[in-house]
C-alpha cells in the first residue's frame, strides 16, 4: 500500500474515532509532558521506607491510630465521580464478559499484513517494535522471552482485560501471530546505537531482533499487540504528589482512593511491577473537552510473569531491597523461614509462578515500595477488595481465555489461582461485611 493510501486510511480512522456528536473544540493548553528518571524513581522508592520510618508525623499517626484517609471520597466512603482515573465497573455494577472484552477494543486486532515497522528496539532485555497496520493504526508489538513462550504476552493481555473490568484505563492488548513476510520496513528508519549514534534499521536488524524472542514451531511469531492510546502522551503518573499544571489534578495522588485501593487489585493479579514506568497520562480531547486521562500500561510483569522471566516465589513477599526483612533476618540469623520458601512452582512454563497458598492478602508487597500503597488504610483496601470480589469465575475465565494459552493446564491453573487469591482477599477484608449484608437482606425479607 502506498504511503498516500496509508495516510488517507489513517485520516479516515482518526475522523471515525471522533464521536459524531460533540466534535472537539479547540483544545486547551496541555500540561507539560513529564519525563522521569526510572533509575532515580527506583532509588527513591527503595529508600522511601527508611524516610517513612523516621517521619515523625507518620509516627504520631501510627501511635494515635489516626491514619490520613483518602481525600477524594464521599460520605459513603466511595470515590467521588466522575473520575478520569477510574470508572465504577466490577464490584460496583454488573460487568459481563462481553462488556469486558469490548471495553478495551473488542475483537479489534491489527489489520492483516503487511505491517509496516515504524520503530524498533533490538537491544535491551525486551526487544520489540511498533507497527502501523493496513488501516493506519499504530500498535506496539512485544514478545515472550525464549525460555517462557506465551508467558508474558498472555499476562499482558489477561491483566489488561481484568484491569479494565476493575475500572482502570488501559490500552487494548491482543494476542497476534505473524510471519516474517508480513513485516515491511518503513524507509529511512533509524535506531540509536550507544556508540555510533543513529544507524539505519535494516532487514538484518529485524532478523536479529526476532532471533532474540520466542518463536513458534511453525516458524511464526506470537506477540502481544498493544494499540496506541488516543491523544498526546504526557508521561508517567507519579504515585505521590500532583501534576501541578493540570487544573483537574488537585488531590495528591497518595491521597487518591483509586490509587490506594489499587493495592488490592494488584495483590490479586500479582502485579508487582507497578511503578510509575508502567503508567501513562494522555491528553485527550473528547466531547469537546480536553483533559488528562490516566492509564496503566504494560502488564508483562503480572500473574506468573516477571517481564523477562517468571516471578520468583519471593515476589509479592518482599521489596527489591526490603529493610524490614533484612533487619529481621539479620537479628534472627535467617532462621525464621519465610512462607514463600514453601511455595510450590507448578512447572507450567506459560503460567509462570503465581500461587494462592503462600499469597498474603494482608501484607502483599510490590517489587518496589509505592507511595499510594504505603498510605493505604483498611478502608482503601476494602474498597479495592470490593472490586476484586466483583469478578466471578466467568469473567476471570473470559479474560484468561484472551491470553490464548496453548497449554490447557496453564489456563486452568491461572483461573484456579485467581479464584483462590480472590477468596483470600475477600476472606481477609470483606467476608464479614458480605455476610452481614446477606443477613440484613434475609431480615428485610
Amino acid at each position: 500500500m502506498s504511503r498516500r493510501a496509508l495516510a488517507l486510511a489513517a485520516a479516515v480512522f482518526a475522523l471515525a474515532a471522533v464521536p459524531a456528536v460533540g466534535r472537539p473544540a479547540t483544545p486547551g493548553p496541555a500540561p507539560k509532558p513529564r519525563n522521569i528518571s526510572y533509575y532515580y524513581d527506583g532509588f527513591k522508592q527503595t529508600v522511601r521506607p527508611l524516610s517513612r520510618a523516621f517521619d515523625a508525623a507518620n509516627g504520631v499517626r501510627k501511635l494515635t491510630g489516626s491514619p490520613r484517609e483518602a481525600a477524594n471520597v464521599d460520605e459513603q466512603d466511595q470515590v467521588r465521580l466522575p473520575s478520569t482515573w477510574w470508572t465504577p465497573r466490577a464490584g460496583f455494577q454488573p460487568v459481563t464478559d462481553r462488556d469486558m472484552l469490548s471495553g478495551t477494543g473488542g475483537p479489534d486486532v491489527p489489520a492483516p499484513a503487511p505491517w509496516t515497522i515504524v520503530r524498533a528496539k533490538s537491544q535491551g532485555v525486551s526487544p520489540g517494535f511498533q507497527i502501523v497496520d493496513a488501516n493506519g493504526v499504530r500498535w506496539a508489538i512485544k514478545f515472550d522471552p525464549p525460555q517462557h513462550p506465551e508467558l508474558t504476552t498472555a499476562a499482558d493481555v489477561i491483566t489488561s482485560k481484568l484491569y479494565w473490568a476493575a475500572g482502570y484505563n488501559v490500552p487494548h492488548n491482543v494476542i497476534v501471530s505473524f510471519r516474517r513476510e508480513d513485516l515491511k520496513l518503513k524507509e529511512g528508519l533509524k535506531y540509536r546505537d550507544p556508540l555510533k549514534g543513529q544507524l539505519p534499521i535494516t532487514e538484518a536488524y529485524i532478523d536479529d531482533l526476532l532471533g532474540r524472542v520466542a518463536r513458534r514451531e511453525d516458524g511464526s511469531w506470537r506477540a502481544v499487540a498493544s494499540r496506541f492510546l488516543k491523544g498526546q502522551p504526557l508521561g508517567e503518573i507519579l504515585y505521590e504528589g500532583r501534576r501541578l499544571d493540570d487544573p483537574e489534578d488537585l488531590v495528591p495522588h497518595q491521597l487518591r482512593r483509586e490509587l490506594r485501593g489499587l493495592w488490592a487489585v494488584n495483590a490479586w493479579l500479582h502485579h508487582d511491577d507497578c511503578s510509575a514506568r508502567n503508567t501513562l497520562d494522555m491528553w485527550v480531547t473528547e466531547n469537546g473537552r480536553s483533559f488528562v486521562r490516566h492509564h496503566f500500561i504494560d502488564f508483562s510483569g503480572t500473574l506468573g510473569a516477571a517481564s523477562v522471566t517468571q516471578h520468583s516465589q519471593r515476589s509479592g513477599h518482599e521489596y527489591l531491597v526490603d529493610f524490614g526483612v533484612a533487619i529481621k533476618n539479620l537479628l534472627t540469623l535467617g532462621l525464621i523461614r519465610p512462607k514463600w520458601e514453601r511455595a510450590v512452582d507448578p512447572k507450567i512454563p506459560s503460567a509462570g509462578f503465581i500461587d494462592a497458598e503462600t499469597f498474603d492478602p494482608v501484607g502483599w508487597r510490590p517489587f518496589l515500595p509505592n507511595a499510594a500503597f504505603d498510605a493505604r488504610t483498611p478502608r482503601d483496601i476494602r474498597w479495592g477488595v470490593r472490586i476484586v470480589s466483583g469478578f466471578d469465575e466467568s469473567l476471570i475465565r473470559a479474560a484468561v481465555r484472551e491470553g490464548r494459552l496453548s497449554d490447557p493446564r496453564a489456563e486452568e491453573y491461572l483461573v484456579k489461582i485467581l479464584l483462590e487469591r480472590r477468596e483470600k482477599l475477600v476472606g481477609a477484608w470483606i467476608a464479614a461485611e458480605k455476610q452481614a449484608e446477606r443477613a440484613a437482606e434475609r431480615t428485610d425479607r
Binding site: 533509575y39 454488573p94 546505537d193 550507544p194 522471566t309 535467617g334 477468596e423 458480605k434 446477606r438
Partner: protein
C-alpha cells in the same frame, strides 16, 4: 484451613450478592455506563495539601536535620537523570564490550591486603588469543606486570611484582604487634605449567533469573584437576617505604635480621604439583559438597641455564606442602549454608644453610586467614588454620557471612597446640546476583584490632 471450602462458600456469597448496582442509578445502557468518562471530573474547591499543618510542624525538625540527605538526594537525582538521558550505562557497557572485542582487558587489581585501590589493564589480542599481557597498579604503589602464552593444557608465563611495604612483626606466634615493621620486595618468576583437564568446564547458565533463590542448579559434575609447574624465581628485598611512629623500616626494628635479608638476592628453581577434587555446587554461593587440594612445591637450587641473574645465591632449599579441605551443607530454599575450612602448610628444610627470605614464611592475618589481624601479622615456617562460616540470606540480593577462624603459625607442625590458637571473627555483607556473589564488605576483629574489609569479585 483448605482454600477449597472457603472458595465455595464465598462463591455462593458473591453469586447471591451480584449484581450490585452500588450507586443506585438506572443503567439502561450497560456499555455506555461502563465507558471511561469524558465529563468534567469531580475536583475539590482547591488543591488538597499533601500534609496537614500539624504534620508539617512535626516534620520540621526532621526536615532541617535531613537537609544534607536531601541535598544528597537532589544531587543523586540530577546525576541519575543525566546518566539515564545520556545513555551512560548502555554506552559504558558497549564500550567495555568493544574493548573486550579488541582484546583490551580492564578491571580491578588483585594485589592483596593493604595495597590500596588498584586497577588492571592488559591486552589479549584478537589475532593471538593465546597471549595475554597485563599490568596492575595501586594507590599504595604496589605493582605487577605479567605476560603469558597459553594453549589448552599448557602455559608459559612471566610475572614481576613490586611490593613496597609489606608488614613484618617478627617470627612466631609470640611476635608483638608493637614490633610492626615493613620491607619491600621485588620478585620475578617464570613458569611453565601443564594441567589436566585441558579446559575448565563452563559453569554459566543461559537461564534468566529474577531471584537468587530461584536458581535451579543443585548439582555440578565433580571437577578433578591436576597441574604441575616449574620455573625460576628471583627475589630481592629492601627496606620498607612505610615510615610512621608505629611502623618502621625493617632495618630499624629488626637490624640483625635486616642485615642478612635486605639487599640480598635469592634465586630458586621452583617446581611443584597440585591435585584438586572439587565436588562443590549450588547457587548463588556454593552450598553443598566439598573440595580438597594437596600441593607440593620444591624451592630448589637455581639452575644456571634458567637463572634470572645468578645461580650462586645464598638460597635455602626447602619444600612446601599444602593441604586444604572445605565442605558445606545447607538448608531451605534460599540457602543457609554452614561451611568448614581447614588448611595446613608444612615447610621442610627452612633451617638449612643460607638466607630464608621473609616473604617465604607462611603468614596469617588479612586475606590469608585470621582476618581480624593485620595482614602478615603472624609469620613462621608452618601454619594451621580452620574456619567455620554461616552464610544466610538478608534480602533478595543480599546475604551475610558470619565466620570464626582459629589458627596459628609454628616453627614445626608438631609444635601446634589447640590451646595456643589465635582466633578471629567477622561479619560481612555480600551482594549477590542470582548466579553468584559479586562483592563483599565487612568487619573482622581479633584480640588486637578491628579491620574493615571489602572485595569486588572473588567472593565464594
Amino acid at each position: 484451613m483448605s482454600v477449597r471450602p472457603l472458595l465455595l462458600a464465598t462463591s455462593l456469597l458473591l453469586t447471591a450478592s451480584r449484581p450490585v448496582p452500588a450507586f443506585g442509578q438506572a443503567m439502561s445502557d450497560s456499555t455506555r455506563s461502563l465507558a471511561a468518562t469524558a465529563s468534567e471530573p469531580w475536583v475539590p474547591s482547591g488543591p488538597i495539601p499533601a500534609a496537614q499543618p500539624w504534620e508539617t510542624a512535626v516534620r520540621l525538625p526532621g526536615m532541617v536535620a535531613s537537609i544534607p540527605f536531601s541535598m544528597l538526594g537532589l544531587a543523586m537525582k540530577g546525576g541519575l537523570i543525566f546518566v539515564e538521558s545520556n545513555d551512560v550505562v548502555p554506552k559504558v557497557v558497549a564500550r567495555l564490550s568493544v574493548l573486550q572485542q579488541y582484546g583490551v582487558l580492564a578491571g580491578p587489581a588483585s594485589l592483596g591486603d593493604r595495597t590500596g585501590w588498584g586497577g588492571l589493564v592488559g591486552i589479549n589480542p584478537t589475532f593471538l588469543r593465546a597471549f595475554t599481557a597485563s599490568a596492575s597498579g595501586s594507590t599504595g604503589h604496589y605493582s605487577r606486570a605479567s605476560v603469558a602464552l597459553g594453549v589448552p593444557g599448557a602455559s608459559i608465563a612471566y610475572q614481576s611484582d613490586w611490593r613496597p611495604q609489606d608488614l613484618f612483626f617478627g617470627v612466631g606466634a609470640g611476635s608483638r604487634h608493637d614490633d610492626e615493621s615493613s620491607y619491600a620486595s621485588q620478585t620475578q618468576m617464570a613458569r611453565v605449567e601443564l594441567r589436566y583437564p585441558l579446559r575448565h568446564a563452563a559453569s554459566g547458565s543461559a537461564e534468566r533469573l529474577e531471584d537468587p533463590a530461584a536458581s535451579t542448579e543443585t548439582h555440578r559434575p565433580a571437577r578433578r584437576s591436576i597441574r604441575a609447574w616449574a620455573g625460576p624465581r628471583d627475589l630481592a628485598m629492601s627496606d620498607g617505604r612505610e615510615r610512621t611512629d608505629d611502623s618502621k623500616p625493617l632495618s630499624e626494628r629488626f637490624p640483625a635480621l635486616a642485615s642478612t635479608q635486605l639487599g640480598t638476592r635469592v634465586e630458586h628453581f621452583v617446581y611443584g604439583a597440585e591435585g584438586t577434587l572439587d565436588y562443590r555446587s549450588g547457587r548463588p554461593h556454593w552450598w553443598k559438597g566439598w573440595r580438597t587440594t594437596v600441593s607440593a612445591e620444591r624451592y630448589d637450587a637455581p639452575l644456571e641455564a634458567f637463572a634470572f641473574h645468578s645461580a650462586s645465591t645464598p638460597s635455602v632449599e626447602f619444600t612446601r606442602l599444602t593441604y586444604e579441605a572445605e565442605a558445606g551443607v545447607s538448608f531451605w530454599r534460599d540457602p543457609r549454608t554452614f561451611r568448614i575450612y581447614g588448611q595446613v602448610i608444612d615447610q621442610t628444610g627452612v633451617g638449612n644453610p643460607g638466607v630464608f627470605v621473609l616473604p617465604d614464611l607462611v603468614s596469617l592475618g588479612g586475606g590469608r586467614g585470621l582476618s581480624g589481624f593485620e595482614a602478615g601479622r603472624l609469620q613462621d615456617a608452618d601454619l594451621v588454620l580452620g574456619r567455620v562460616s554461616y552464610i544466610f540470606p538478608l534480602a533478595r540480593y543480599l546475604e551475610t557471612d558470619v565466620h570464626a577462624e582459629a589458627g596459628t603459625v609454628v616453627p614445626r607442625l608438631e609444635h601446634a597446640r589447640l590451646n595456643a590458637l589465635d582466633t578471629s571473627y567477622g561479619v560481612s555483607l555480600r551482594v549477590r546476583s542470582p548466579l553468584a556473589p559479586l562483592a563483599a564488605a565487612g568487619v573482622e576483629w581479633s584480640r588486637e584490632t578491628v579491620r574493615f574489609r571489602f572485595a569486588i569479585g572473588g567472593v565464594e
